[in-house]
Symmetry: C2
């Protein structure tokens, strides 16, 4: 897909899912000095307490944001898929409050945050799209608090699978019923507030009930309705329509 190769196309496509752009907006985006870098799996794009200098869009691969407690346990607060904007907070906040790390090899387009800030200042619709994106992200965080705070293990895992599937579909990354899960069971554990051992058992349970099928890292959702019910999943919080 050209979107994934061409950083400008990826950024335009992302913003057009959030608002309507005009020709001047598109021209301003084309004029950005975007550069593309490839990073290996496990690479830290941003570390907590870094000074925030760049702004990134993910072109291919998968990335997560996470925070660590004082005694070293990790909480993944979100996963990101191709097309996601990774650092909008860097436009207005000086210091990173979490880590951003690649899960797989990833291609990232980036520009200095001040450049993107200047774009937002010059093009109000682009600023509005970005602001909306940060609001949707905040909504996703709220849902994650609910997931981790008030659901049992089976629901948490089911909900996470639902969210990943729907976000991939919204982003135009293939079918919702069968997809590759790029993350390890340890990633899933750190995202759901469980241990890897218990995630393993929970996935087996979902498999044994015929809700999902697993084969390596590929997941097939055998019964979307029951997965949704198991996770208490309602996609409204993703605000799919503007």
């Amino acid at each position: 897909m050209s979107t994934r190769r061409n950083p400008y196309g990826a950024l335009v496509a992302k913003l057009e899912r959030l608002t309507t752009l005009d020709d001047a907006d598109r021209a301003a985006i084309q004029a950005l000095p975007l550069r593309v870098s490839i990073y290996p799996a496990g690479y830290f794009l941003v570390r907590e307490s870094d000074t925030t200098e760049d702004c990134r869009i993910l072109l291919s691969g998968y990335v997560c944001r996470h925070k660590l407690t004082g005694d070293g346990s990790r909480q993944i607060v979100s996963f990101h898929i191709p097309g996601d904007l990774l650092d909008l907070q860097h436009l207005l906040l000086r210091c990173a409050d979490h880590n951003i790390q690649t899960i797989t090899e990833a291609a990232v387009a980036w520009a200095p945050a001040v450049t993107i800030k200047a774009l937002a200042d010059a093009r109000p619709r682009i600023a509005e799209a970005m602001w909306r994106d940060t609001l949707i992200e905040a909504s996703i965080f709220r849902e994650r608090v609910l997931n981790v705070g008030r659901r049992d293990a089976k629901s948490r895992v089911a909900h996470m699978l639902c969210e990943f599937a729907v976000r991939c579909e919204i982003a135009g990354l293939g079918t919702m019923t069968s997809f590759d899960l790029p993350m390890t069971q340890e990633h899933i554990a750190d995202a759901t507030g469980l241990t890897p051992v218990h995630v393993n058992r929970t996935l087996q349970m979902l498999g044994a009930e015929g809700i999902i099928e697993r084969e390596r890292r590929r997941i097939t959702i055998a019964d979307w309705q029951r997965l949704r019910d198991a996770g208490g999943f309602d996609p409204a919080y993703l605000h799919p329509a503007t």
Copy 2:
């Protein structure tokens, strides 16, 4: 304090903690058609799936945002103190994804969301301040995911107390070492992902260790250093400085 009585003063004060306003910005705020309403404790200002029509600033009292699971358990995702903007997401999202409910009697200034949106469109610095506020709120949600996902009961409660104390101080609401906790132990439980019974025992433990002192709903932090350590609290995620 006049800030708490005068809705315009409260809004100007809030935005000036986020950015620098000029006279035209302040004049535009003064021209808003703000109205003030008083609501009793337990009142729903917004319900999930409501169409989002108004935008509010809290003048006095305390409010929380929360979501419910399918089987009815509640997760509080944030508490709000006087001076907080409650509905910025309503400027750009059509449908509420969570409930907003008063904890105590509360005075709220409000205007139609479209009016506030027009203000943001007309005054870029105000839009920027609001955007920054939503980014800081997102950071608070991320920290809450960590708190609920990866800390034990004692740490969760300690962290919550730290956050509340520091936010009150940033907002200029009195001293950090002694303050009224407006919420019940059930509120604390729903915010930390625990049960009220266990919150009670945890508070007693913090008291027995001499870290806090309790008397009714008033909390005195006897040993800030140890409370901070117990909660693994680092205020950087609140982004106190611009």
